[in-house]
Each structure stands twice: as C-alpha cells, then as structure tokens.
C-alpha cells in the first residue's frame, strides 16, 4: 500500500505544479490556412500578456464559422466568406457575426522544383483536375504522369478552388486528396509529377510556384485581384465580442500583427479599419 500512497502524492504534486490559474482565456478554431498566422500572433500576444491563455485549433473554415455561431469558441477563422447555408443558420439562430479580414492570400499553384512548366491557364488547370490531361508532356513538360493533389471537399480552399477553377465540375477520382496545406506542400516537394494548390504562406522554398494565366501571385497582383485565385482571410467574432477577443483582433490588425502576417508568408491587408458585416 506504500506504493499507492507515494503514487497519489506524486499525482497530487504534479497536479498542483501544472495548474497555473489563468484568468483570461481565448479559444480560437477554424481554417488551417489561417492557422499559422493566428498561432504566431497568439505566441507573440501571450508573451506580451502573460496572464492571457490562448488555444489555437485547426479544423477548417466550416468548423470556424460553425463554432462561432454556436459560441463554442471566442474567435473563428475562415479562408472564405460566410456561405448561404451558414447565413440561413445565423438568421435562424438570430446570432449576428462580425467578420474581420486579417490578411490577404491567394491559392498558389505549386509543382515539384524540377518541373520545367512555368505557366498554366485556368482552363488547363481545370483539365488537369478533372482528369483530362494525364501527362506533363501534354503541357510542354517531360514525359511524367500528372499527380493532381486536391484538398478535402469541405475545406475553404477547396471551395475557392472549386468556384474559380472547376466551375463545379468534379475532381477526377484519381486525384490525391490530402487533409491540409502542409501535407499538400510536403507531398509536392518530393513527388516529381505532382501539382497542388495551397495558401500563399505555404508555398515555401521546396516547391515551385507557377503562374496562372501568366500572372504570378505576389503582393500587387493579389491586392489588385488580378491574380485569379486571390482571397481574404477572416476572423469571425460574435456581434458583441469579449474585450479580450477585440484586443486580440486589434493586435492582429496593428502594424505588429500585420508584420506577423508577412512573416508567415501571407500578404498584409494595407487597411486597418475592420469591415463590418
């Protein structure tokens, strides 16, 4: 029985050691595209405000919006605007939301660094994803099977891609479907024939960005909207957010916050006043 006593004492000790009481909690969930920005901002914010505890979870844009409608979290992130179905839900529950764009992004088309193809048209991209183009040779590249990589059908990125590129045609069933931006980028980086689309911040050195309709995704073309797959990233709050939630959004929109956006590879907003919805 001695063992028991010492074990329970140990557990109690550990419990008291790990239970640091924190007053201010902020739960954030949502888009995996927005995740790196929010995570980095949370890190810096907590360093400046040690009494604050922030939990950042992914899940996806739908989860972010759904959770904020259900008030399960304090902030919900999304890589798209609220869609019709969600509008209906909000109307039904009489719970208003506020949307804050916090960064600009573009779905960036990436291929393996050794792939010589430099540009695709929107039409070619559609043909690749619907399975009508099979080989890079058909696009002036090497004799290599095209491995299209798509995202899960309910992700915000897929919705944007679906809307602008696929025109609601189905993705070929042979296309790989991966659960997140990072998985897509990593897989493209070591798969010679692969092509994928990711948030701008995920297009790192190990992959090659290709231009779409001759336009390269970069700050100017994304802000002007010339790049076809430009979009904004949003944080949603209840219509009357808690003080801490407002403070955190203010931080994201401050110069310091916007620098974090750039640091994570995304594009600054260049406008600081929140657009209400």
């Amino acid at each position: 029985m001695k063992i028991f006593r010492s074990v329970s004492v140990l557990i109690l000790l550990l419990f008291s050691a790990t239970c640091t009481r924190v007053e201010n909690k902020l739960k954030i969930a949502g888009s995996t595209t927005v995740l790196p920005i929010v995570q980095a901002a949370a890190e810096v914010y907590m360093e400046q405000h040690p009494q604050v505890s922030i939990s950042v979870r992914g899940g996806g844009s739908s989860i972010g919006i759904k959770s904020i409608i259900g008030r399960i979290v304090d902030l919900g992130s999304a890589s798209r605007q609220i869609n019709e179905r969600e509008m209906k839900l909000i109307a039904a529950q009489e719970k208003n939301l506020q949307a804050f764009p916090i960064a600009r992004d573009a779905l960036t088309i990436i291929v393996h660094p050794d792939n010589p193809v430099l540009n695709l048209t929107t039409g070619q991209l559609r043909l690749i994803y619907t399975g009508e183009l099979h080989n890079w040779q058909q696009l002036g590249g090497p004799n290599l099977t095209i491995i299209p990589i798509s995202r899960d059908v309910s992700s915000g990125s897929f919705e944007v891609f679906n809307h602008f590129i696929l025109d609601s045609l189905s993705v070929a069933s042979g296309a790989m479907v991966l659960a997140s931006n990072n998985a897509v980028a990593t897989t493209v980086s070591y798969t010679p024939g692969a092509i994928g689309y990711v948030g701008y911040g995920y297009a790192h050195e190990q992959v090659k960005i290709i231009t779409l309709d001759g336009i390269r995704p970069q700050a100017e073309s994304i802000i002007s909207g010339d790049y076809p797959l430009s979009r904004q990233l949003y944080i949603y709050t209840p219509d009357k957010p808690e003080q801490l939630a407002s403070d955190f959004i203010a931080f994201l929109l401050s110069e310091e916050g916007q620098n974090i956006v750039t640091q994570q590879g995304f594009i600054k907003l260049h406008q600081t006043e929140p657009a209400n919805e």
Binding site: I63, S154, S170, S173, A179, T191
Partner: protein
C-alpha cells in the same frame, strides 16, 4: 447490516459490468442516430454500390464503394504481409526457439504492439513514401503499397502473439507422438502442431483483419486519399477511416455530408462486428 454490505457490493459489480453493455449500446446508438439520416438522401444500395464520392457537390454523390474498396485492398495487402511474418514468428518462437531467444523474442513482439500508430504514420509519410519514389520511380509514394506495408507490420504482433498462444496450448504429447513415429521437426510442425492450433490461428488472423481495417492514422497519413477504385498497386486510395477522420473535422454538423460520414462508420462498425462475431463463434465452439 453485513448482509446489506454483501448485497450492495455485489450490486456494484453488476452495475459496473452493465456499464460495458451500456457503453457498447451508446456507441452503436450514437453512430446509427447520426448515420441513418443519410438514407433520406441516398438509398442504402446506392450508398454501397456507387463509386462516386462527391459529398459537397450540387447535387452531391454519396457512393462509398471506392472507400470500401480502398479499405479492403489495403487490409488485404496488410494481411498478405502480416500472415507469413506473424505466423512464421509465432511458429518459430513456439516450436524452434531455445528458451533464451524465446525469453527475448516474446517481449520484443509485445513491445512492437505498443508502438503508437501515429508514429508508424510518421514513418510512412516522411520516410517510406519519398523512398519509394526514389527507388521504384512510382508517380506517388502515398498509395496502397506503402499503406499495406505499414499496416502489415502493425498487425504482425497481433497475429504473432495470438497464434503463439494457440500453438502453445497444443499438448506436448502430440508432438512427441509425431516425432516418435519418425516425423522430423518440420513435418511435425506442418502436419501436426499447426493443424491442431488452426482455429486459434484463424481467429488471430480475423483479429488482425479487424485491427487493420479499423486503423485510422496510418491510412489517413499514408494511403493518399484518392476516392477511386484503384487500377494498380501504386495508386492512392481513400479507406473508410481516413475519409471519416479527414472530412469530419471540416464538415458542417448536421449536413448530409456529416450524416454520410456517420453512415460510413456504420458500415465500418458492421464489418468489424462481423469479424468479432466470427472469432466469438470459433472460440465458443473450441471450448465445447
């Protein structure tokens, strides 16, 4: 007073064991409760036989044949690897190994069983998959083949430890009789010991099957995620648990897609439940 203590203690143990039944029913009820509504949108036959999985399209397609095919192919591949390796190790440990190597091999295989599946997934995703592309020049490293290898290795300890149990219950006299009749060690193993333990070996394989078809993290990370009926060994597939794990996070709760994912879990549960009943049946018959 004492009588009261007796009865109440007894009741508590009964209550506790009822909980196991309650939990099981809660699990079954919860997946059926959330899964049945999908059949308002699609018939069961179409759900099971259509290979087209486009749950968010307008109109959506809720056919899971390609997911079922993915699950079964990956599981089949895993069994092709794990049956010889697992059974081979079991026979070796039980029949051929000396006491010392037995003492070492048995715990090692047990340790193998405790490796978390996400670590196997990490190995498959970050090491095996790039390696396959380099060596075999396959178009993609996340496919049936790589998922089968990883799953197969995961199942080895299950098949091995259960088969070993079955082999060790074969009476010594049987082996001695066979050897005395002039059969050599190998002939004794193949003609006498293995047949005598065949029901135990069979249930270990069924158990391995159940484990492989229900395993989530490995297929989520390594199988490639394409909802298709594959045409080759090196093609990506989307087994049922991978579809549930990947899509549940992002679907809107209460949507037809959400219910469809629970519908998949009903199918998955049914398959594993049947495999459990088969082992139950075998064990029960053997006891008689």
């Amino acid at each position: 007073m004492n009588k009261f203590k007796e009865t109440s203690f007894k009741s508590v143990t009964y209550l506790a064991s009822l909980f196991t039944i309650v939990f099981l029913f809660a699990i079954i009820l919860s997946i059926f409760y959330e899964g049945i509504p999908i059949f308002k949108h699609v018939s069961l036959i179409k759900f099971l036989t259509s290979p087209s999985w486009h749950p968010t399209h307008f109109p959506p397609d809720f056919g899971i044949l390609s997911l079922i095919a993915g699950s079964f192919l990956v599981t089949l591949g895993a069994l092709i690897i794990s049956i010889p390796l697992g059974l081979g190790s079991a026979i070796y440990i039980s029949e051929l190994a000396g006491p010392t190597s037995k003492e070492i091999l048995k715990p090692v295989i047990e340790l193998l069983a405790s490796i978390p599946s996400v670590v196997y997934g990490l190995f498959g995703m970050a090491f095996l998959s790039p390696l396959l592309i380099k060596i075999f020049h396959v178009p993609t490293g996340l496919n049936i083949f790589s998922a089968s290898i990883i799953l197969g290795i995961m199942v080895v300890p299950i098949i091995s430890s259960m088969s070993e149990d079955a082999l060790s219950t074969v009476p010594k006299s049987l082996r001695e009789a066979s050897l005395a009749l002039g059969a050599n060690k190998w002939e004794t193993i193949i003609r006498v010991v293995v047949p005598a333990a065949k029901s135990g070996i069979f249930s270990s394989i069924i158990l391995g099957f159940g484990r492989a078809i229900g395993e989530t993290m490995v297929v989520l990370m390594v199988a490639g995620g394409a909802a298709q009926i594959p045409k080759g060994l090196f093609q990506p597939v989307r087994p049922m648990p991978a579809a549930i794990a990947a899509e549940m996070g992002e679907t809107v709760i209460g949507s037809p897609h959400f219910h469809a994912l629970y519908g998949i879990s009903i199918i998955l549960f049914t398959v594993t439940f049947i495999s459990i009943l088969i082992t139950e049946f075998i064990v029960h018959r053997r006891k008689k």
